[in-house]
């Protein structure tokens, strides 16, 4: 059972365009939603994160939109650049009894072409 569903699997965007990656979750106990960026040969690195009491969070060109009622959240990359080409993972965290367990989506491979 996949608890966090991510789409699309791959995405090609023209330089300067907007990249949009969507995720949906099932477990209403999740209380923290990070996005990770992974370059080839590297580990996932935290990009931006949001809590469910906030509908939107923006950091530079990266924005998370969160819809609690629909149990969906998305990452928007404005003015996409070739350097943004990477795999992006959405994740959800459920804190319980001192445990911090991330549940990941399957990832989206983003290619930004010049």
């Amino acid at each position: 059972q996949q608890q966090v569903k991510q789409s699309p699997q791959s995405l090609i965007v023209q330089k300067g365009g907007i990249s949009i990656i969507n995720c949906a979750y099932e477990n209403t106990a999740f209380d923290y939603f990070p996005w990770y960026q992974q370059f080839p040969g590297k580990g996932p690195a935290l990009l931006i994160a949001i809590r469910p009491d906030v509908s939107e969070k923006k950091e530079g060109r990266f924005t998370i939109s969160f819809n609690k009622s629909a149990k969906q959240f998305s990452l928007h990359i404005m003015d996409s650049q070739p350097g943004d080409s990477a795999t992006y993972f959405c994740a959800a965290l459920q804190r319980g009894a001192g445990s911090y367990q991330l549940t990941f989506g399957k990832g989206t491979k983003l290619s930004v072409i010049p």
Binding site: P44, A45, F89, L102
Partner: protein, 116 residues
Amino acid sequence: EAGVTQFPSHSVIEKGQTVTLRCDPISGHDNLYWYRRVMGKEIKFLLHFVKESKQDESGMPNNRFLAERTGGTYSTLKVQPAELEDSGVYFCASSQVNDRGGNTIYFGEGSWLTVV
């Protein structure tokens, strides 16, 4: 400041052999996690240490996997005996809860395991 370091970066072993992966967390981080990504699948949680204690090992697939964190510093993940389906990338991560309750989790570059 050094990040999370993992060793080896790549390992190829035969089915039935034993492999031990090592993780050095960021200095001062009490929380240490192991995750793995099998080809084509999502990154999945294996277990979580707080210092030397196993806080949550609900993601460990079976008893062929043994994780230890002696002294609350580095950790090892042993797979014995390895099976073909164990192939994938094993990520270690660490974190430290701050005064505001924040808990940013930092990942290492992963140890790629191929079982043939």
